[in-house]
């Protein structure tokens, strides 16, 4: 196993979370979820990815409401949401925290409740972001998972709590997490990218991603 970028590891985790999905939509400014989705598509050609803000050959022809209409009908089964704050009940906050104003809720209040599989994704893993209770509930729902730059959590429907599944490196996650969660006695390391995954990421996936996220593709893969 050679060296890999953290972004590549996160994209591989996202691709594994997409197992069994038929159609994922990707909202604004989400290069890592988009990378994971295109990696999954490479191995599962029947899987559809719709990038909301794709510059060329955008999949939508009915304006920006079409994404929400598709989701309302169940034609999109996977969506990604982030948050300035995320709490242990799965609620996200995109509006305000600690006297600071954030951009706003976008479509989250709707998408979280109508899309079957919502993956929460935020690269920063800190007690500032992962809080006991969000200051403002932009959206609430039952997530499929929470992926951060340091760890992967699953959601336990019966307990209404997160469960730590793995950490990307060996480190004390509880000290860096503001909410309480369940964890196994021994916490495994997140499975690293395989050689096959890395060659797909650095080949066809990187090419597709560079069209819509040029800065990201340049930073991770040196594509100009």
């Amino acid at each position: 196993m050679g060296a890999y970028a953290r972004e590549e590891l996160l994209a591989c985790v996202i691709a594994r979370l997409l197992e069994g999905a038929r159609h994922a939509a990707i909202g604004a400014s989400s290069p890592i979820p988009a990378t994971g989705a295109f990696l999954h598509q490479n191995r599962n050609p029947g899987f559809r990815v719709s990038l909301q803000q794709r510059r060329n050959a955008n999949p939508f022809t009915e304006g920006s409401r079409e994404l929400f209409d598709l989701a309302g009908q169940g034609r999109i089964d996977t969506f990604f949401l982030g948050g300035a704050q995320i709490d242990g009940s799965g609620a996200i906050n995109l509006v305000r925290a600690d006297g600071k104003r954030f951009p706003g809720s976008f479509g989250s209040a709707y998408m979280y409740s109508v899309v079957a599989n919502v993956v929460l994704f935020r690269e920063e893993h800190s007690a500032r972001v992962l809080v006991p209770k969000v200051e403002f509930v932009s959206a609430r729902g039952m997530p499929k998972a929470l992926l951060t730059g340091k760890a992967l959590f699953s959601w336990q429907k019966d307990r209404g709590r997160f469960r730590l599944e793995s950490t990307h490196e060996k480190e004390d996650i509880r000290a860096q997490t503001g909410f309480d969660y369940d964890a196994p006695a021994t916490i495994p390391l997140t499975q690293p990218p395989s050689e096959e995954e890395l060659s797909l990421l650095r080949g066809p996936v990187a090419q597709v991603i560079s069209a819509d996220y040029p800065d990201f593709a340049k930073r991770v893969w040196g594509i100009n």
Binding site: R55, R101, S105, F106, M111, S138
Partner: protein
């Protein structure tokens, strides 16, 4: 009519519906609003806002914003919006994207409200006294903006405008009391006679005024014609982090006659 005259049709205090950065923003008309010192505008994001709103807010033209978000996309947070909200200088009515679409769709159908799935459980519902839960479903009241303002690739001699796949602009034009459109190019004749163009047309029935503004979306893009000027946008995002930097940007790119829409 030029963009200056078109902007003069928007009275102070009007509820003005604007598209996001990726959906045909009328940037030249926005610069005209700033030059004519518009005041107390209420902006509606269809369904979110970007550079248009940040410029208008920074220039003191705005009292209130109703939107699902304000952001400069890849260039980051909208700095003038953020500071104005944190200092309590403008009021925000937070929404969520499909609620904005539903409110405009209700208006275009002439019905009082439109039901919307989901959303219940969000604090937005408590914050919006105009949104009602009836039999477990959220009802969004119809919203009729005073003005819808955007940029089109083409207008024609019959007063129609072409927006292609940006159908949310057709919806907001149907819903608004008046629709004002700047355009890059004038097409001779009537686009409704062309079966290929017609599906992307908003008919003159809805359009109150058009104005020729070449490169009128700059520094944002006009899909298929010119891309967004990413260098200029990140320059703006950096400059607008402070009031002084924003004022220097306004002086150079908005208030200096002749310079505004003529990028190098």
């Amino acid at each position: 009519m030029n963009a200056e005259a078109l902007a003069a049709r928007i009275p102070d205090g009007a509820l003005v519906a604007l598209p996001p950065d990726y959906s045909l923003p009328a940037m030249e008309a926005v610069r005209c609003l700033i030059r004519r010192k518009s005041r107390r505008l209420r902006l509606l994001g269809v369904p979110v806002l970007g550079l248009c709103a940040d410029l208008l807010i920074g220039a003191g033209c705005v009292a209130e914003v109703e939107t699902s978000a304000v952001s400069l996309g890849e260039a980051g947070l909208a700095p003038r919006f953020t500071e104005a909200v944190e200092r309590g200088e403008i009021k925000v009515r937070d929404a969520t994207c499909p609620a904005v679409h539903s409110a405009l769709q209700a208006a275009e159908k002439g019905v009082a409200y439109m039901p919307l799935r989901g959303v219940i459980g969000s604090d937005l519902v408590q914050a919006r006294s105009d949104w009602k839960i009836v039999d477990g479903v959220l009802n969004i009241p119809a919203l009729r903006p005073d003005v819808a303002l955007f940029h089109a690739r083409w207008a024609d001699e019959a007063g129609n405008v072409w927006v292609g796949r940006r159908r949310e602009l057709a919806t907001v034009a149907h819903a608004a009391m008046e629709t004002l459109v700047t355009y890059d190019e004038l097409k001779p004749g009537d686009m409704l006679e062309d079966e290929i163009l017609a599906p992307g047309v908003i008919s003159s029935l809805y359009v109150g005024g058009t104005a020729h503004a070449p490169k009128g979306a700059w520094p944002l893009g006009l899909p298929g014609v010119y891309g967004a000027d990413d260098t200029h946008l990140s320059q703006y995002a950096r400059a607008a982090k402070t009031r002084e930097g924003f004022q220097r940007y306004l002086d150079e790119w908005v208030l200096t006659p002749g310079k505004s829409f003529s990028p190098a």
